[in-house]
Symmetry: C2
Subunit: 210 residues, 2 copies
Amino acid sequence: MARPRAFNNDEVLDAAIACFWRRGLDGTSVRDLATQMGINGPSLYNAFGDKRTLFIRSLERYASRYMRERIERLERHQSPKAAIQMFFQEVISRSLSDPDYCGCLIINSALEVAPHDRALRKVVVGYLGEIESFFVRCLTRGRAANDVPISVEIADTARLFLGLLIGLRVAARANPDRVLLEGMVRPALALLNKSKTSRNVSQPKGVTQC
Amino acid sequence: MARPRAFNNDEVLDAAIACFWRRGLDGTSVRDLATQMGINGPSLYNAFGDKRTLFIRSLERYASRYMRERIERLERHQSPKAAIQMFFQEVISRSLSDPDYCGCLIINSALEVAPHDRALRKVVVGYLGEIESFFVRCLTRGRAANDVPISVEIADTARLFLGLLIGLRVAARANPDRVLLEGMVRPALALLNKSKTSRNVSQPKGVTQC
DNA sequence: CAAATTGTGTATCGCTCGATACAATACGCT
DNA sequence: AGCGTATTGTATCGAGCGATACACAATTTG
């Protein structure tokens, strides 16, 4: 019963995600946002409240479109162990092919905004927890399928993978070097291939296992 | 042969470090800096050029006072393997007792400024390389002392530790939880104790395993 | 059609930012 | 002492910030 919106919320949110992804919350101005979203400042405030709220909405959409998409796709189509391996392989591939050093919006936010914003910290911690849970599920199912060695302590190994993922994405922003990124992941993934009963086969160096 | 400085460069640099540590480069204003450093704006510019140059000076002093201090102290007084273990133990202890969620200035900078500043990126990458080299040295010496299993691939394991350190400090800024931080480190440090704890038999040289 | 309501576009608010102009000040030097 | 020089304090610059006032446009409802 009034004038309708001239834009689609999800489409302009994607533009906002791109802005925050590259420059962070403080590094992105409302003018940048409005320009990239193709709307005017007042329309932005009318639709999303303020910059921080727009950031929260963008972060939530990012989590769905990128993090959860990857997790659900890998869990649906891969074996538990392969899901973990391909998860890191995809992240490394993405990090190396990104000319803007964007990294991961969630992890960027964990460092930029979480320490200074209690509510946003809880949101970010929740997203990180989803990633950790993904690792826990994969490890649990992998062990049930006898595909993950008994020597792997599931809870701590999931935490290791989470920490390594964070380190990987942060390191890639400063130094996106394939040798470094693949190297830091290799010994961790090797934990999943330790032979359970007899000898194991060492991975040839320089080859990304998948 | 003129009016002398009314302040000590190192002392005010320590105050600048505290500011940048808490809020980052963009999050710290020149007014904040001047106030905390106990000097006036023009004195700051006269002594250090501009904010970015002051940040570089602060970062360099931080690297010496904190990162290199820890590395040199641990390498001097601990066995190679214990140096690595205590390194992580100290970082976790520090992260858990820090009410301001400061993290590590170098790692914070890797995410905040490195992607947007080529010169600073090289500086940060250099500092990260020093940490990686510390791990390489410890692992090399530990293996020479028969204290690190032959199964440990030194270069990649050093990269793993670097990645894990970064992930640890970033995660701690968003979620400083002892269970999480100690858990993510435990499986990595366990790599250093593999064949030792399982059952006796320190590795006879010449027997290749894994 | 007219009234009511909501989005849009222009212009701008008050504020803080990084960085300086300028004059007063305090020291070493001869 | 008194000149030369570097530092200090005050006051402020132009630019960009987040956010909004206000009039106009577009749509639904009566």
